[in-house]
Structure formats: C-alpha cells, structure tokens
C-alpha cells in the first residue's frame, strides 16, 4: 500500500491490525439511509475510529454508551468519534435512537466488512469486526491502535491518553 494514496483500492485486505505510523485507509460508508461519511471529511482533526462487533450489545454501560457520554472530552481535543460495525443503516438508526447515541455509526455492510478488512480487524470466523480502536491524527496517520480481547470492553483510557498526547504535540509545534 503506498503511503500517500487516500482511497481504498478495492479488496485491500490486511490480516493484522494496522499499526501506528501507517496512513489510515480512506473510506466512504453510509451512516444513514441517505448520508455517507468519509474519513477525509475530517482531515485536519483527529479521528477516533471505534470498530465494534455488533449493535445491541446486551451489557450494561456498554462501550458505545460510554463513548457517547465522553463525547465532550473527545471534542475538547477537537476529535471526531466514528463507530463502525457490519450492521446496516436501519439497524444503526434503531440502535442510535434507543441508546441516544450522538455520533455517527457507520455501516460496513456492503461489501461486508470491507473497511474492517482494510484496517486488519475483520474476524472471518464470526463475520464481524474485532473490538478495535484507532486514533488517527489530523494528517490521516494512525497514531495508536488497539484490539481488545474478545468480550472485554476496552474503555476509553487509551483513546484519551493518545488524544492528550496529540494535543500536547500540536501545542508544542504551535509554540515554536
């Protein structure tokens, strides 16, 4: 994969999660029945990409509800949070309404899991993505990635730590 291209060539598949220093593969995915979101829409600001296996997690205080409540903290760092699963847009809409989710959930639905595969976090055996986090800097480079053990909600400590580090770097650069 060339380091400067910004579109996902069809069928690009990574078996291992993309690591820090890699350019984040571009994508355009539906977020509602009539809207799409592209990674490049957020060029110039950090992006937190949260892959999760499925809507309707039965746990109390699940990962997405937690992130939803932490949106002001992410926004304080100028970051945009995007959730991604293989569920379709109607499923996302019902889930968002039920849980009062206020950030975009993207449907990696057709071709199924293509973006999860591009980021190296697709699980062939179960047909969903891993529970994986990517913090992408304002220039589109992955600064941190993390794959949570199956069944363990990763929380937000890693994300907040990376966003703090990115903010510090920006301040240092601006201070020069």
């Amino acid at each position: 994969m060339s380091t400067d291209h910004y579109t996902l060539s069809s069928g690009e598949i990574h078996r291992e999660p993309l690591s820090a220093g890699t350019r984040a593969p571009e994508f355009t995915l539906p977020t509602t029945p009539d809207q799409t979101v592209s990674l490049s829409d957020f060029h110039g600001q950090p992006v937190v990409l949260a892959f999760y296996p499925a809507d309707w997690s039965p746990t109390c205080g699940d990962q997405l509800s937690l992130y939803n409540q932490l949106l002001p903290e992410f926004q304080a760092h100028g970051a945009q949070l995007l959730g991604v699963s293989v569920d379709g847009v109607w499923c996302h809409r019902a889930f968002e309404e039920d849980r009062n989710i206020h950030f975009p959930l993207l449907a990696d639905f057709e071709p199924k899991g293509a973006i999860a595969k591009a980021y190296g976090v697709y699980r062939d055996d179960v047909g969903t993505s891993e529970r994986a986090l990517f913090v992408i800097d304002a220039g589109g480079i992955i600064q941190w990635s993390y794959v949570s053990p199956v069944g363990i909600n990763p929380g937000a400590d890693g994300i907040l730590r990376e966003l703090e580090a990115l903010s510090t770097t920006v301040e240092l650069e601006e201070g020069r």
């Binding site: 205080g61 990962q63 009062n100 600064q143 993390y146 929380g155 937000a156 400590d157 907040l160």
Partner: protein, 188 residues
C-alpha cells in the same frame, strides 16, 4: 506513542485515592478496593452485597472506596441518585455511606421524590440537603470522578481496582476475594 497494535497491560487507576474520597476501612490497609459505580445499574446492585461480604471477610486489611460513574445516557435516575449520595456526604462520611447503602437497597425507586424521602429517613439536615440537591452542588465532583474513571479505563459499571489495577475478573464473591487475597499475600 505506542508502536505495534497493543493488547496492552491492564488499565491502571490514574486518580490516586485521597482523603477527599469516600472510604471505609483504615487508611493504611494493605489492600484498597476502588469501585466506580452507578446507583441505577443493576450489576452494581448485584455487586453491592458482595462487597459487604468481602469487607467482612478482610476486615481491617481492606479499604473500600466508592466513586461515581453514572451512565446517564442509559440510566435516567443515576445522576440525581449520585448527587443525593454526595449531598448526604456533604453532611458527613457516615451519612454518605448510609445513603449509598439505601440507594442500592432501593434501586427500583430513585426518582427525586424518593431521594428526598431517603434523606429525611436518614435524619439529614433537610434544608441543607434540599438546597445542595436542588443547586446540583456536587455535579462537578461527580463529573470529575466520571472523567477520572474513564481515564483509568472504567469500561462499564461496576469497575473495580485492586491496589490501583483494574480487576477484569468476575465480581462474584469468590473470584473477587481470591484476587484480593492474592494482592494481600504479596503485600506481606
């Protein structure tokens, strides 16, 4: 910044326990168990008697600290319940724990009216309680605890830390007490 994608070490408590915390048990206990909890969360409700059990089991070897982590987007009463507990805490440490216990014993009735009734039941200064409760006097404290918890890797409620390390095991009594025992043994 980290290099390879990590399946990183266990999350650590980044906000140390201080005298500002609500705590039961001695300051110098060899093991400190910190809970980030939500008064409306049914899992926290299930954990509540189990914590009492481990407190009884370990006695003065265990210090228990409770911090707020109200998941307000899914639990409509959690925030006010936390504010009620903190408002009680404003009147004394014992008052805090009495309210904490009462809330977990009455998770099906956490509306404002019930919260005020509990304050009366506990013999709190009613005017002070109402005023602190109405003015959201403890909102900032609760928010700080929530953010501190998130930065420490709280990933749902309840989340426990044993001597600063997130406990990812089951919080049924025997695994939790085994984990506490292990830390206790290694501290001696």
């Amino acid at each position: 910044m980290s290099g390879d994608p990590t399946r990183s070490a266990v999350s650590q408590l980044v906000v140390p326990v201080t005298e500002d915390d609500h705590q039961q048990g001695p300051d110098d206990a060899p093991v400190t168990l910190v809970e980030y909890g939500d008064y409306q969360c049914s899992y926290c409700g299930q954990a509540y008697p189990l914590i009492k059990d481990v407190q009884e089991q370990f006695g003065d070897d265990l210090r228990f600290v409770f911090r707020n982590f109200p998941l307000t987007s899914i639990h409509e009463y959690a925030q006010h319940a936390a504010e009620a507990a903190e408002a009680a805490g404003g009147q004394g440490e014992e008052e805090f724990w009495s309210m904490h216990d009462l809330l977990y014993e009455n998770q099906d009735a956490l509306d404002d009216e019930s919260l005020i009734t509990y304050a009366e039941q506990l013999g709190l200064d009613p005017e002070r309680f109402r005023s602190d409760f109405a003015s959201h006097a403890f909102e900032d404290r609760i928010h700080e605890q929530f953010v501190g918890g998130a930065r420490s890797g709280v990933n749902g409620t309840p989340t426990f830390y044993i001597n600063g390390e997130r406990y990812d095991g089951s919080w049924s009594p025997s695994p939790l007490s085994t984990a506490i025992q292990r830390v206790l043994s290694s501290s001696r």
